[in-house]
């Protein structure tokens, strides 16, 4: 290493994503069946793709305003009102970002400073901890429990709150657990959030994939709405991962501050993609519904099959992941995944990649064709015959 001392030590010390590490092994092997992907298997619906093409053809390729096209922000705000009954003003409360990822980064950087603590319920999507650490704050893990449906309970929250607590990250429906929070679940923790005056960053990217009942946004609670930053995007609900279009909804004061980072770092989200997003949010309800049904059916299928072959799996209420316990094998998550890849050519993601609370689990994505899921189940069944107890 020739730049060891010169490189920012925070970056130097960041752990590479546990998923990424696995990816490198998986791509080198031949004939690997992967259930590791975190994106839908549908190609973006044609009417949406066509709008992107049309935007390029028409020469709509200049910068847009920093906040993004007003028509898109109007679409987003009317969508949040229509689907989740939360009101935001397109002029004051919305920024279009480059995917949910940018949104998480700039929102957190606006809120937190050196020495703050950010409560992160884990297992969690890999980016949160890294972004918190890069902003100089400390990650305080709130370990979610399978027997509680991976929900944040008031007891667990109380146990990790300190005077230094600045924010909590909520990701429901959640990656990797598929857990959800209902209105009743939120109602139990909202008073604590209000009292402790922490910010809430709620990443609702999987909102449309809520299988039982309707998605509830914590921003629905007026008493903490001003302290809540909603993050969402087009990747998962409209199968538009590669377009990189996300958004932030928040109080005007927060938006004005977040916008400062956004304008200097990003300028604006990609213009043709914003046009595609307008088409998606205004005319994509039917696509969302079709994809929803297809995911729900595959969820039903894989959960029953996993339980049948001996991997205890609770029925996830959202997203497109199942998070089975692998404790019956006595293997660590990492060993399980390595052996599974080595011996059966099947790639799934070790649970500990999502925080230490994920140890003893693996994440399996069911954003695959039924044929592929069937093949994977056969491989897992063979594997469990060797290692299961």
């Amino acid at each position: 290493m020739i730049f060891d001392e010169e490189i920012n030590q925070v970056v130097r010390n960041l752990k590479p994503s546990g998923i990424r590490k696995f990816f490198d092994i998986a791509v080198k092997k031949k004939n690997v069946i992967s259930l590791g992907v975190g994106e839908p298997d549908f190609i973006t619906p044609w009417h949406i793709r066509e709008e992107a093409i049309n935007a390029i053809e028409k020469g709509r390729t200049f910068y847009t305003g920093n906040k993004g096209l007003l028509e898109l922000r109007q679409g987003i705000c009317s969508y949040y009102k229509r689907r989740f009954n939360v009101e935001y003003d397109p002029e004051d409360n919305c920024i279009v970002t480059v995917g949910g990822s940018e949104a998480i980064d700039i929102a957190l950087r606006t809120i937190i400073k050196q020495g703050d603590e950010v409560i992160l319920p884990t297992p969690a999507y890999v980016a949160y901890a890294a972004i918190i650490e890069m902003a100089g704050a400390k990650v305080v893990e709130l370990e979610l429990k399978e027997e509680e449906g991976f929900k944040v309970t008031p007891e667990a929250l109380k146990a990790v709150l300190t005077p230094k607590s600045k924010a909590i990250i909520l990701n429901y429906p959640g990656n990797p657990t598929g857990g959800i929070m209902t209105r009743e679940d939120y109602a139990k923790i909202v008073p604590l959030i209000k009292e402790s005056k922490i910010f809430v960053l709620t990443d609702e990217i999987y909102a449309e994939l809520t299988y039982e009942g309707k998605h509830c946004s914590i921003a629905e609670f007026d008493e903490i709405k001003d302290r809540t930053v909603v993050i969402n995007g087009f990747s998962k609900s409209y199968s538009m991962t590669g377009y990189r279009v996300g958004y932030i909804l928040a109080h005007k004061e927060l938006i004005d501050m977040i916008l400062k980072i956004h304008q200097y770092v990003i300028m604006c989200a990609t213009t043709p993609c914003q046009y595609a997003a307008i088409e998606a949010i205004n005319n994509g309800d039917k696509d969302v519904e079709e994809m929803f049904l297809s995911f729900k059916q595959r969820r039903n299928y894989i959960v029953k099959e996993l339980n049948r072959i001996g991997l205890k799996t609770h029925m996830p209420q959202g997203a497109f992941y199942v998070f089975p316990s692998i404790r019956c094998t006595g293997l660590s998550s990492e060993d399980f995944c390595n052996k599974l890849l080595e011996e059966e050519n099947l790639a799934v993601v070790p649970g500990d990649a999502f925080g230490k609370a994920g140890e003893g689990f693996v994440r399996i994505s069911y954003a695959y064709s039924l044929d592929q899921i069937k093949k994977a189940i056969e491989k897992l069944e063979d594997f469990l015959k060797k290692y299961g107890k």
């Binding site: 696995f22 990816f23 992907v37 049904l293 595959r298 039903n300 299928y301 029953k304």
Partner: protein, 160 residues
């Protein structure tokens, strides 16, 4: 019931076992539902979508507009019934616009279809005009693309 139909409309060949898993129901329940749907003719039939060109089988297809006069009391139904009985007729519907009926007709070749129009369809009582359009190439049938669309659809094997 509708969810079951929604799955079957795209693929009639799912096994009952798989349908039960997808719908989170018991196999017996699914079997009963399918039987009921078949008995009630909600499921009107099953067939296979074949690209005959690829099978190297010669086949001609045409779309035909048919003009006719409705009958007192029976409207178009009796004429429709007479036309539908011909095995050459793959699809028949009453339409709005320039003609009364729209037909899709299959034959082994153009001559066979021409003969059908000249000797069977046009002389049918009540029919007073036809317009035949031969199909030159099919790009998509029954929602299935026959190779005109190329898509890469390459996802990375593992992503966050």
């Amino acid at each position: 019931m509708n969810e079951l139909l929604n799955i079957l409309k795209d693929n009639a060949r799912y096994e009952v076992k798989d349908l039960a898993l997808l719908l989170n129901e018991e196999e017996e329940e699914v079997k009963d539902q399918i039987k009921e749907l078949e008995d009630n003719k909600v499921i009107a039939g099953y067939h296979t979508i074949i690209n005959w060109e690829r099978a190297d089988v010669e086949i001609s297809k045409a779309i035909i507009f048919v003009n006719c006069v409705p009958e007192r009391e029976r409207g178009y139904d009796r004429i429709a019934e007479r036309i539908a009985r011909f095995p050459e007729v793959e699809a028949l519907c009453l339409i709005s616009g320039k003609a009364e009926f729209l037909l899709r007709v299959n034959g082994r070749n153009m001559r066979e279809i021409s003969n059908f129009v000249a000797h069977k369809l046009a002389p049918t009582e009540g029919v007073n005009g036809t317009e035949t359009m031969f199909i030159l190439k099919e790009y998509k049938i029954h929602g299935i693309d026959l190779g005109s669309i190329s898509e890469d659809n390459e996802r990375l094997p593992v992503t966050p």
